[in-house]
Structure formats: structure tokens, C-alpha cells
Amino acid sequence: METIKEKRKKLTGSKAMIQALEQEMNRDSNIFIMGEDIGKYGGIFGSTTGLYDKFGSDRIMDTPISETGFIGASVGAAAEGLRPVVELMFADFHGVVMDQIYNHIAKIHYMSGGNVKLPIVLMTAVGGGYSDAAQHSQTLYASFGHLPGLKVVAPTFPHDIKGMLITAIRDDNPVIFMFHKTLQGLGWMDQIDASLGPVPEEAYTIPLDKANIVREGKDVTIVGVQMMTVEALKAAEKLAEQGIDAEVIDLRSIKPIDKETILTSIAKTNRLVVVDEDYYSYGITAEISAIVASEGFKDLKAPIVRLAIPDVPIPYSRVMEKFVIPNADNIIDSVKKLVKI
């Protein structure tokens, strides 16, 4: 768990992001942001609100709808010594720019034998739950995590959002920074407690490769990420009332995964539930299950439980969407069955 800092205010996820960007942009004039509607609009999901007024159109650049163009341009700008932060409005749109992301941004450092550095942060909004349907609700965590050369993070709480975004900006490697819409604490979406939290005012960093134990427990380990961590915590509270003591790990880093924290937890609880808001096959539940089945096998006393979006596109209609995204009740049911084994 992170050490607690002094002088912290409660901020939303969105405000935590903005604070990180603002402080870093003040520190380093090489940082600039490009994206669609990140200027006066302030980012569709509030990632840059107010920054245009503070930094002007030279450092906060609205772009045309040309993701391959402007995200690809971040490569050349970074190679020239600038530090571009680029926003892909929804992770769902990655397909129009995936070549730049995985064949160029991710590989150039390697192909150049380490000679070219690309300090690029790609921020992108993920997640569903508000009926935005099949092309605007995905997380696609594993689509990014599968590819070498990218650090991929997905923090949950405002404190981590700020700290990890600052680390991402200071990192000389490309980092995909995924922020969950519902965790931004925006006025026009569902209001949830987790989207507001204490955030130190000064700049600070949080490593990009460490999971966080957000609840200690001994009976079962639940690994989640972003909204699934929130659901896991809800589930853990109810399970506690029923005498089941769950440990909840907030994954935070999709790539690389913090194996150690997970394996240590399994050594204690011997039981694993993984919950993911991405698709089931070849997703986070697969990778974490595999890590434990290969490296923590001796500690495992029961089958691993995988909860994720079944392999279907995300449906529009609320009833169906709620059905496909895992929630606290699904977790509780699974854990209750699991602890009996």
C-alpha cells in the first residue's frame, strides 16, 4: 500500500489527471498535448479541462479526426526531444491507429537498438456501463497488454491516477494510460464514491509496475482493475458480513503485471478470482490465471474463477449491458462457491 502524504484534498479522477498534467507542463516546457476536443472542450471525459486557457493552443492542440496522423506525429515530435501526450478519445477507436501504436511507437526503441527514445503518453478513455454500445464501451486492456514495447496502466483511484500519470509523463518509454470514464467523477455520469479521493497537492510518482492491495484478507484473492476493483471491494465488504475475508488487489498495471504481489497473495489465500471489464478470451483473467497456474501452482487449492465480459460485443440495451459486465453480486456468488471447495 502507498504511503500516505500530507496536505491532500479530495479530487475526482478527472481533476487528478488535470492536476498531474498541469504540474508536469509547468515543470517541463517540452510537454504538449494533442487530441480531439482537448482544447476549449477540455476533453470529452474531462482529461484536460482548463488547460487550454492556461497553456494556449500551442501546447494544448486540438486535432482533426486523424488519429493515425496526429498519434503517428507524436513519434517524430518525441524523437526530436519533445514529450507529447496524446489522447485517443475512446480506446474503442484504437483500430484506426493501431499500426502506429504497435508497429511504430511500441517497437522503434527496440528496432533502433535502444538509440531512439520515445517518451510518449497515450491517454485513452475506457469502459462501459452507460449504454454507449459496441463501439464506445470497451476497455480493450488486453489488446494493448498483448503487444511488447508498451507500458500499459489503468489506475482506479484519484491518488493513483495522478501519481501514475506523472510517472508516465516522466518515463522515457511510451506508456498507454487508460482512464475509466466512470472513475473520472464527471458531473454527467453515474456518481460513485470511488471517483473521489484524497490527492496530495504536490507532484508525486507511483510506479507503473506495481499492483496495490486495497483490502487485506486471508480466504480468497480477488484481482480487479478499475471498475472491477470497485466491484470487488463492494463484494468484499458484503462477504465480510458473511464471515469470508477477501483480499482485493487493484491491478493498476496491465503490462507488465506485478506477478509478485499476486503470487504472494495466493500463497496466503490459496484461492483466486479474477474480474475483468474486458472480453473473456485472451484477457486479463487469462493472463493472471496463467501466471498463477504456472508460477503459483503449488499454492492453489481450488479452480481459478474468471469473471469477464463474455465473448460478445457490448450490447446497447441497459438490461443486456448490465448482464455482460461483471459486478459485485457475480463476485460474491463465485467466492461463496469457491471457499467451499
Binding site: 482544447g39 479526426i65 484506426v96 449504454s131 455520469m189 446497447y316 440495451s317 438490461v319 443486456m320 449491458e321
Partner: protein, 329 residues
């Protein structure tokens, strides 16, 4: 000939008015359950909602020249084209309500309307529908039909790679394809001048050696005339065209858009020149229809739309487990 023309204009009026009434109703319905605090996921119509009030001429004055054999692909802002193309209004409304009786059984939603019976589709990825229409045009040509395919996009989409690749293919293969660019000056908050290196996208037709047309000031009559020419050329095997129409976005990009980026005075000026009113006045002035008959027509329209909403409202929601169906056939 005159007779056809007049009927066509009446058809255009009807299509525009239907769309307008449908959307004005949607504007209200969409806010149900989202008051006093707006919550995008709440109410009977959750999710994003992109309305096209003001942009009706682009759709109606083009689609009047099409039959149900002709293909139309549209965007995240698809109602005006869907309605003009004759998409089943009840099923479309039900889809937007997320009902089992909807076009996509509630799986698609407002941005993903598919009615293969009238060859209409749309989608939420900017530029994503252009190649689909090119593919339909290719099929039309392969089978020796005179059917055409029309893709509607916003001016923002003209800066996507999909635009360029599709236009080159359509021109190279001399396909019966027409691209209509609805230039409403805005791509969400980014103005045309901040997104596009030329003043209008008909100019870009030169990059493909094809015809480009510009329709000024949202004029339904001029759009009618130009579209007729482009469609006829396409049917005759004379290849693709780009038509850009200067049109109006009365509302925010989506409902709930605070529009802080937009000059306050812009919309009132546009509304002054409302194309539906302009066409109505033209129809009356030219004695193409009487005042009484137009009222009559409008009542029919209101009725049809109201019925569609009723149908949607009274339809059942899908069962949650239906989410697992229709991934494969």
C-alpha cells in the same frame, strides 16, 4: 416532368419534416430520467444522442433520388438519413429505446441502426462507413445493376484515412458511389477551419479525378439538383462524386454538450434560415401545395412519428441473456 419534380419536393418536405419532428420529440424524451441532474446513462434512452436538426436537406434531397435497391451508409448522427431512406420507423425508435422489437433487438442502439430491407446502415466510428458503401457500389457494378451507394459523412470525417482510401478505390474502379459531406462547421468542438486544410471538401474530388460539387447555405433545392446529377451520373457508369453541403447543426454535438466552444449568436442566425421553413414557403409560393394540404401532411407525419414512439415505449425489453445471442449466425 414538372409533375415528378413537384412530387419529389413534396417527398423531400415530408422526409425533412418527419425527421425534424422525430428529433424534436427525441430531444425531450432523451431528457426523461436525466432531470434534475443530467446523467447520460439514465432514462428510457440512455447513451449518447446525436441529433441532426438543421441538417435535413443533406439527407432528404439526396435520398429522394434513391430506391430501396440503393445503399446508404451513415454516421453517429443517422436519423435524418434513416428516415429519408425509409427505415422502419417503429423498429428504429424501438431500437433507440433498447427494446426487443428494435431493428437490432436492442443490441445496436441509436448509433448502430441496420435495416437491410432498405439497405441502410450507420455506425459510431467516424469515417468507418465510407468503405462499406464503396463495397456495396462494387457489388452493384459487379452484378451489372444500375444501383448506387451513397455514404453520408460529416466534414470532420473527411480528414480520416478511410475517406482517402475509399475515394481512391471508388474513383479507380469507377464505381457508382457518391460521398455526401454534411459540413455543419463543427466536429464536436473543432471548427472546420481548425480541422481541414481546404475550404470545402468538394475540392478534394480533384485528388481522385472525379466530380466535386458544393451546395451552399443548406439549400434543399440546390441539393436536390446536384444530387440528381450525381446519382444519374453514377447510374450511367460515369463514376463517383463528392458533394459537400454547407449545413447547420442547431444543437450540441450530442445532447448534454455544454457548447462552451461555440459563439452564442451562431445558432439563432442559422435557425432564421431554417431549410424546412424555406422549402415550405417555396412549396406554397409556387402553389405546389396548399396551406390546408400541408397541414394535413404534417398531421400524418406527427401521427406516424407518435405511433413509432408508442410502439417503442410499449415494446418489451430483451431478456438479459439475449445478450449472448447473435454473435454468430
Amino acid at each position: 416532368m414538372k409533375h415528378i419534380y413537384e412530387n419529389h419536393l413534396l417527398w423531400v418536405y415530408r422526409a425533412m419534416k418527419t425527421s425534424r419532428y422525430f428529433e424534436e420529440k427525441m430531444e425531450k424524451v432523451y431528457l426523461e430520467g436525466k432531470q434534475p441532474v443530467f446523467n447520460i446513462g439514465a432514462g428510457p434512452v440512455p447513451g449518447e444522442m446525436h441529433l441532426s436538426n438543421g441538417q435535413e436537406p443533406a439527407a432528404a434531397s439526396m435520398i429522394v433520388h434513391l430506391t430501396k435497391n440503393d445503399t446508404v451508409t451513415a454516421t453517429h448522427r443517422p436519423h435524418h438519413q434513416a428516415i429519408a431512406k425509409g427505415v422502419d420507423l417503429k423498429k428504429m425508435t424501438a431500437e433507440i429505446y433498447g427494446k426487443k422489437t428494435g431493428l437490432g433487438k436492442g443490441k445496436g442502439g441509436h448509433m448502430h441502426l441496420f435495416d437491410p430491407k432498405v439497405k441502410f446502415s450507420c455506425g459510431g466510428i467516424v469515417g468507418g462507413g465510407i468503405p462499406h458503401a464503396v463495397g456495396a457500389a462494387l457489388a452493384n457494378k459487379k452484378r451489372g445493376t444500375d444501383w448506387v451507394a451513397v455514404s453520408f459523412i460529416g466534414e470532420g470525417a473527411a480528414n480520416t484515412g478511410a475517406f482517402h482510401e475509399s475515394m481512391n478505390l471508388a474513383a479507380l474502379w469507377n464505381l457508382p458511389f457518391i460521398l455526401v459531406v454534411e459540413n455543419n462547421s463543427w466536429g464536436i468542438s473543432v471548427s472546420m477551419k481548425n480541422s481541414t486544410s481546404v475550404s470545402s471538401n468538394d475540392i478534394r474530388a480533384k485528388a481522385y479525378g472525379i466530380n466535386g460539387y458544393l451546395v451552399k447555405d443548406n439549400d434543399p433545392l440546390e441539393m436536390y439538383r446536384i444530387s440528381k446529377e450525381a446519382v444519374e451520373r453514377a447510374r450511367e457508369g460515369k463514376g463517383p462524386s463528392i458533394i459537400e453541403i454547407e449545413t447547420y447543426r442547431y444543437l450540441g454535438h450530442f445532447q448534454g454538450d455544454p457548447e462552451l466552444y461555440r459563439p452564442k449568436e451562431e445558432v439563432p442566425i442559422l435557425r432564421e434560415k431554417d431549410p424546412i421553413e424555406r422549402l415550405k414557403n417555396h412549396l406554397l409560393r409556387e402553389n405546389i401545395i396548399t396551406d390546408d394540404k400541408i397541414k394535413n401532411l404534417e398531421d400524418k407525419i406527427f401521427n406516424e412519428v407518435d405511433n413509432a414512439y408508442d410502439f417503442a415505449i410499449h415494446s418489451e425489453y430483451p431478456e438479459p441473456e439475449e445478450a449472448l445471442e447473435d454473435v454468430f449466425c
